[in-house]
């Protein structure tokens, strides 16, 4: 007896310890109830608009468009959300759901720290306890976000196992959840993990593509020709793609972190280099060796430095509906610098992966074409790391 609700093609499912099964079933039932509850939706919509600064702008990047000389480029400014990234969309939804379920404690994993900051923010707002698991390596790369989480009242636990990055933070958060379930909601940060998380997170992030569509129709009277977003687990990407999936003429392009290149072992480009596997609660594509041991992936971006990809992306890849392209560290850093100088917008290094591909794609398209690039977060958090990459040591 499989659970068809949790599947995207062959991907997805609920590969988790029995200890957690009733917790995810309870979560699914609560979600199915509240997603159709007008009161819940009004509260969430108020939080989005009044607290998180939605709708986010769809900004015409005129200088960048002229510079690249091809398709017209719009930037979906998720970096302007409260807390500085798209992560807040999902977190406000899950925290509100957890509160309705009577939970008093949120736990989360974080890579770049943006999801951890968003969770700590929601916990502060709702008066909930918050514990964030973060790979020790990432606590160094993203020290500013560690301080922000602590300032917001969260406890940050540096994870010292494995590669000490996002994958290990997810494992540790899952272990913590099996230890304490009754009062605790695991606020998973991406469209990954066991069902119902990939669906719940997607639905809360789908506001991005819902807005893009409305804004694009208002500004241009038509749909874009391509939508680009960076993909780690894939939450801002699925949010940017979702309402366009049925619009077959809109190309959906996910930009994966290739690290030092997909022909090296120092990469996190899962769709491009991984194979089908079962890990972290889901069947999907994973970077792994021939024995199924999960690979120690690498990217300059702590938020994309993950060996798997959400099951819905794996399915969109299988059916050819979305395309997943690799972007290297160097290309991303150049795009980080490019967008800063060109448009006065410092993107997160994660989002810079999508900007980098836009720089390649736009010149190949006619001036009558339109592409949307989701700027999933702002880049303040990355300045010290990028300076280091360029050989400059700055102290914040």
């Amino acid at each position: 007896m499989t659970n068809p609700a949790g599947r995207f093609g062959i991907h997805g499912g609920q590969y988790i310890p029995e200890t957690l099964m009733n917790a995810v079933i309870e979560l699914e039932e609560a979600y199915n109830h509240y997603k159709n509850d007008p009161q819940f939706n009004k509260e969430l919509s108020d939080l989005f608009n009044e607290y998180a600064n939605r709708p986010s702008r769809l900004y015409y990047a005129e200088k960048m468009t002229k510079d690249l000389g091809g398709a017209k480029i719009y930037l979906k400014r998720e970096d302007l959300n409260h807390t500085g990234a798209h992560k807040v969309n999902n977190v406000l939804g899950q925290a509100l759901l957890a509160k309705k379920m009577g939970k008093t404690r949120l736990i989360a994993e974080t890579g770049a720290g943006q999801h951890g900051v968003a969770t700590a923010t929601a916990a502060a707002l709702f008066g909930m306890e918050c514990v964030v698991f973060m790979g020790e390596e990432d606590t160094i790369r993203q020290a500013l976000n560690v301080y922000r989480m602590r300032l917001l009242g969260a406890t940050v636990i540096p994870v010292k196992t494995g590669t000490r990055t996002l994958k290990d933070a997810v494992s540790e958060a899952m272990r913590e959840w099996t230890t304490r379930i009754s009062d605790t909601h695991y606020c998973l940060g991406s469209v990954m993990g066991p069902h119902p998380f990939p669906t719940i997170v997607r639905d809360f992030q789908a506001v991005i593509s819902k807005e893009i569509k409305e804004q694009m129709l208002a500004k241009e009277g038509r749909l874009p020709d391509a939508v680009l977003a960076c993909v780690g687990g894939g939450s801002n990407a699925i949010g940017s793609f979702y309402h366009f999936i049925e619009d077959k003429d809109v190309k959906l392009i996910g930009c994966e972190a290739a690290g030092r290149g997909i022909d090296t072992f120092e990469t996190a480009a899962t769709v491009n280099t991984g194979k089908l596997g079962i890990f972290h609660g889901m069947k999907s594509y994973f970077c792994q060796d021939e024995d199924g041991q999960i690979a120690p992936v690498y990217s300059i971006s702590a938020g994309l430095d993950y060996p798997g990809v959400g099951p819905e992306h794996a399915h969109l890849h299988d059916i050819g509906r979305a395309q997943y392209v690799p972007v290297t560290d160097e290309e991303a850093v150049q795009a980080f610098e490019y967008l800063s100088k060109m448009e006065g917008i410092i993107p997160a290094i994660e989002s810079a992966h999508a900007v980098a591909y836009a720089r390649k794609l736009a010149p190949t398209m006619g001036k009558d074409k339109i592409i949307v690039v989701t700027i999933s977060g702002r880049g303040d958090k990355d300045c010290a790391a990028i300076a280091r990459y360029r050989g400059e040591d700055i102290h914040e």
Binding site: S171, T179, L276, G281
Partner: protein, 258 residues
């Protein structure tokens, strides 16, 4: 009666878990032989996985040591072939879904049958996902062991009814590793299980001392010990086998006459 059930035919069973390849496969083989010689009724062989999400720090450490020693899945099958020259007690694998899936479920499970592995425990494969593995297990006479947890509640009957080999009852919330006390009301869960099946029930997670093993075996059909044994292997390395044997004897003695 499948071979696994024979482990429970002579009274309460003591089940010993050992991570394969920690610190090397020769030591694992010697530890298994010492455990069996000193009364282990069933051996659980852990195939190391890079990211064992159901394990506490002790078994995580063993997985890392084994993998950094270069152990591959095919080497573990060679170990089983070697052990089966003289070891007759039932042996099961404990590993994660991706280890089986990436090897190819059909190839993995048929090799279990060929080498003499009686069952597989996959802690990240709950009842709802067992179709990936169960039909292949049934075709090869390898039992897919079901786990029941303190949080299973309304799921207990459904899981127990379809359970093969033995039922692995998880003693408490959390991951593997020693606990000072186990407070879950396991008696009620065991009674619920017994009302729907005669498949034996063994309790694991958190058991390290003889009195804990006795308390758990008293209310069920056996006790499973992993982290405490792995800790001995960690401490003594290649010299671990005799210490493992001594420990197994003390645990088996505690449950022998219940």
């Amino acid at each position: 009666m499948s071979n696994i059930k024979s482990a429970f035919s002579g009274g309460k069973a003591f089940i010993a878990f050992i991570t394969c390849g920690d610190p090397d496969l020769a030591t694992t083989a010697a530890c298994v032989r010492e455990a069996v010689k000193n009364g282990a009724d069933l051996i659980e062989l852990g195939i190391p996985f890079s990211d064992p999400t159901a394990e506490g720090p002790v078994i995580q450490g063993a997985n890392i040591r084994a993998l950094s020693g270069g152990v591959k899945t095919k080497d573990v099958f060679d170990l089983v072939r070697e052990l089966r020259k003289d070891i007759t007690v039932p042996m099961v694998f404990m590993t994660y879904a991706n280890v089986v899936f990436s090897y190819g479920a059909e190839k993995f499970i048929s090799t279990c049958e060929e080498t003499g592995i009686d069952g597989i425990i996959l802690p990240d494969v709950p009842f709802e996902e067992k179709e990936d593995f169960l039909p292949i297990c049934k075709a090869h006479g390898v039992d897919l062991i079901s786990l029941i947890a303190p949080t299973s509640e309304n799921r207990i009957g459904m899981i127990a009814k379809e359970a093969d080999g033995f039922i692995y009852l998880v003693s408490s919330l959390g991951v593997t590793g020693a606990r000072s006390e186990i407070t879950t009301d396991l008696g009620d869960i065991v009674a619920h299980i017994r009302s729907v099946t005669d498949t034996p029930v063994a309790i694991g997670f958190g058991i390290s001392k003889p009195e804990q093993a006795a308390a758990m075996a008293k209310i069920s059909d056996g006790a499973i010990v992993g982290s405490a044994i792995v800790k001995i292997v960690e401490q003594y390395g290649k010299d671990a086998p005799s210490h493992v044997g001594e420990y197994v004897k003390s645990m088996k003695d505690a449950i022998r006459n219940l």
